[in-house]
Symmetry: C2
Subunit: 202 residues, 2 copies
């Protein structure tokens, strides 16, 4: 939203808080949800395409069908594959289990997730070596999708930055963008961010 200069207001929701009115208004527990002029848009892919189609300023998906192929492919990769194999496991074991007090975190699942990140860093390196950003010569939705996943893990200190200097340099540039500033000030009660989390020169 910030990258497209769209005025907005963020509201924090927790998937485990089923009394939240936002969930009872809809059929499924899905986050994020965009609400605009009483229109509810769920699903991160549907939200991104809707914003791209209705706000022409600062396009983030690409200028032609051909350019949009890799943007969508790589954005979906991070929103679904990376999320399922890495972020979801770590988030669930470390954060959700802490807040819902349902069970002790599984250190073996966390270990699996931390191993799973390496092929994804290789995947990123493959693209970044070819062009300035993940999917094009300029920042696109693919970079935002990837950086969102990595920033969550980086907060918890779970990104092995030494593994790929390509990824590290790419992320340093993302971090310096004005749109990323609020994210670097995020704070999860009960969890301190890693030392370098908000550090632009990490």
């Amino acid at each position: 939203l910030q990258e497209k200069s769209i005025d907005h207001q963020l509201t924090e929701c927790n998937l485990w808080d089923k009394s939240n009115k936002i969930f009872t208004a809809d059929v499924a527990l899905e986050l994020p949800i965009l609400i605009k002029d009483k229109i509810l848009v769920a699903d991160v892919g549907a939200i991104s395409e809707y914003l791209e189609e209705t706000y022409y300023l600062h396009p983030l998906i690409g200028a032609s069908p051909l350019a949009r192929i890799d943007v969508r492919r790589i954005a979906n990769w991070f929103n679904t594959k990376f999320y399922a194999e890495v972020t979801q496991l770590i988030l669930h074991e470390k954060i959700v289990s802490y807040f819902t007090k349902t069970k002790e975190p599984s250190s073996s699942l966390i270990r699996v997730a931390k191993q799973n990140i390496y092929p994804h860093l290789d995947y990123m390196t493959h693209w970044i070596k070819q062009r300035k950003w993940l999917a094009a010569e300029k920042l696109t939705l693919a970079d935002i999708a990837a950086a969102s996943q990595l920033s969550v893990l980086d907060y918890l200190g779970d990104v092995p930055w030494d593994y790929s200097h390509h990824v590290r340099e790419w992320y340093a540039i993302i971090k310096s963008r004005p749109s990323f500033r609020a994210i670097l000030n995020d704070y999860i009660p009960g969890f301190n961010p890693s030392n370098h989390y908000a550090n632009l020169d990490f």
Copy 2:
């Protein structure tokens, strides 16, 4: 492709067959892949959007940004959420383990997947009660995405059709479409389809 009247040729690929040239041509093992005029498009979402943008006949995502919200949301739901919670588990335990001979199928994982299908059938029922098809008054990508998942499970006899007559009637109409005929003739060596699999009146 058939619903959009696009001439095409299908090639069978198995994700576990890493010597397949289609995989060495690209960075990641992803299926399906669309190849058109030497352009490679991976990721089912990127493929769908690319086809919608380049073939104007028989649109399947919707005529306006507003109409496209639910189509994309529901299509993504089945391509990712339903797939991860139901199809992937059953496919992996029953089919992939059979062909790769890596391990015995886990009956407890299959049981979990078969339980997981019920909230998804509720989700479908919610939408079908409101309109003729899942996301609109006409067939869209959302129906194709949902029917693709269900047909895989139905082949193996793993859809509890008695649970929702709304879903059952919706699927009966899908099955009768010319585009579905080839799918109903599919055959997986070593696995016979369920008795009603190709039966239009099941």
